[in-house]
Symmetry: C2
Subunit: 185 residues, 2 copies
């Protein structure tokens, strides 16, 4: 049993992002991450199953909170608007995280294995949103289309948001993406 270290998890995440950015994800070992954070490998494995998990920590919770947002959305909303409202809630999650999100995205974008994990996550999010829409009484095909459209809007909003140098909130990016999406049809 190691002694308790203040914010060990946060330090490990920062150290990992530093190393992944400097050397690449593949070239970084858990031992190096722990060393950079001034901690032991054993401490690392108390928080993360492997070095990939550092980048995807909290993603189940993230998905769950979006699905809960959809479940709480007013029943009068159209399926697509309900998805939009649920995804707008993620703005709270992203507030003050742009620098972190940008670095994380760059690391993922440079590695096919990580890209695949990200694609899989977004696919799972779309499936969860479609299931939640069906629980609201939306038919299967509409539910799946609305969920896929929402996730596409989210992905593009996110990429636009991290590429912006100013402090415009994520909420604006996601709203713009949904407006754009609607204007396309």
């Amino acid at each position: 049993m190691g002694r308790w270290v203040p914010n060990a998890q946060g330090r490990l995440i920062e150290a990992a992002l530093d190393l992944y950015s400097e050397r690449g994800f593949e070239q970084t070992t858990v031992a190096e991450i722990a060393q950079r954070a001034g901690l032991t490998e054993r401490t690392f494995f108390r928080y993360f199953a492997d070095k990939r998990e550092v980048l995807f920590l909290g993603s189940e919770q993230f998905e769950r909170s979006i699905v809960e947002g959809l479940e709480r959305a007013p029943a009068a909303l159209t399926p697509l608007d309900a998805v939009a409202v649920a995804l707008e809630h993620t703005a709270t999650f992203f507030a003050d995280r742009r620098a972190h999100a940008r670095r994380r995205y760059a690391v993922i974008d440079a590695n096919p294995e990580l890209q695949e994990r990200e694609r899989q996550k977004l696919g799972a999010l779309a499936a969860a949103l479609a299931a939640a829409l069906q629980r609201r009484g939306v038919k299967a095909t509409s539910a799946r289309l609305a969920a896929e459209m929402g996730v596409a809007a989210f992905k593009i909003a996110f990429e636009n948001w991290i590429s912006q140098p100013n402090e415009s909130p994520f909420e604006r990016s996601i709203r713009n993406a949904f407006e754009e999406l609607k204007s396309l049809t």
Copy 2:
């Protein structure tokens, strides 16, 4: 040099699909596929790099033909309608292939590695369509959204189509999906 065998490639594909369906993709070897087709492993490797490629043969050509369809679409069409027209062309490709498409889909659906390959392919298709839209003068965000929406409609249309027992054409499924998509906004 082996002697020429009539339709060796087609026989290998059929043998592979049979075995993947019966035993699962993981449990099937190239030697077994060749044996089932009455051919040698050497002949197999003349057509395919590995047993996964049997399922994804022609996918670059498939993507290229959709992109060409988009390039030929009338300039007056909206970005989304141009994508719809390009994807409707795939109906020619799918005609008379429902039984094959259904079996292939079931094999892919049962294996995470193959699912990933399929997701990657669809992601590449969306990127290629977005690039083609930008060449038509569509702005980046709209181009990406229209491409992602189109691929989502395609995916859902395809799944609906293979689940139908009757002989309704793929064209109808893809048109329905696009109409549904438009009605959602």
